[in-house]
Amino acid sequence: MERKKYVWDPLVRLFHWSLVVLFVTLALILDPESALHVKLGYVVAGLIAFRVVWGLIGTRHARFTDFPPSPRAAMEQLGDIATGRKRLHLGHTPLGALMIYNLLLTIGLIALTGWMMGTMRFFGVEWVEEVHEALVGWAGISVIAHIAAVVYESRRVGINLPKAMVTGYKAIPQEE
């Protein structure tokens, strides 16, 4: 038996998957010197800005208050994983929260340094481009870890988390 809980509103879901498509496109597909790269970079900046606003005024599980950055809670979750305890988090888990703040910040800084490279002051300035590229590498590593963690956590607690980010609903397994 499963109980369905509505967790992710349409804007959170649209934000998430738009960012996935844009990140892959910008990091792996487009020529970094192309005009389209710059334009889509601005779209990403807009998405991040939207998510921050939505994190302040949005639906319950979209709000930052629903998943505050908490090293203590993250440690507790690691303890749960180690001892086999399945504690239910309807929204983002503590570890998930840390990853999200990491990604929002990293991608925000990628957009910022990208913008800087188009300004008179920082055009052709080496360190800005190097930081931009280093952050993209870090984001790539984070994305791989994020995917691995979501798959792992889905199996551990018996909830299809990727599907929930598509449909908005988490199917919570009930004890027999």
Binding site: F123, G124, E126, G137
Partner: protein, 86 residues
């Protein structure tokens, strides 16, 4: 899959991402002598030279002139083949 297999798979994937060179990365730099030549030549022509890198078998120069951000593409003999306005 067990936790261990997941972790191993993730680490392999991470290593691949970390090892993959990003598109547009320079394979080898332009020598200091050539950079100095280019800088002298372009500065005399009113450019403020910001960066010189190899690109697609040419020499790419990021420079500013008359308040415009430009990318100049030079051949090995330092002839300007193309100027792209950013």
């Amino acid at each position: 899959m067990s936790i261990k297999t997941h972790m191993k798979a993730s680490l392999v994937a991470l290593a691949l991402v970390a090892a993959t060179p990003l598109p547009g990365m320079a394979s080898s730099a332009i020598s200091q002598d050539v950079q100095a030549q280019i800088t002298e030549m372009l500065t005399a022509d009113g450019y403020e030279v910001r960066k010189i890198v190899p690109e697609d078998g040419m020499i790419e120069v990021y420079a500013i002139k008359d308040g415009q951000m430009l990318e100049l593409y030079l051949d090995a003999d330092l002839n300007i083949l193309r100027i792209k306005q950013k």
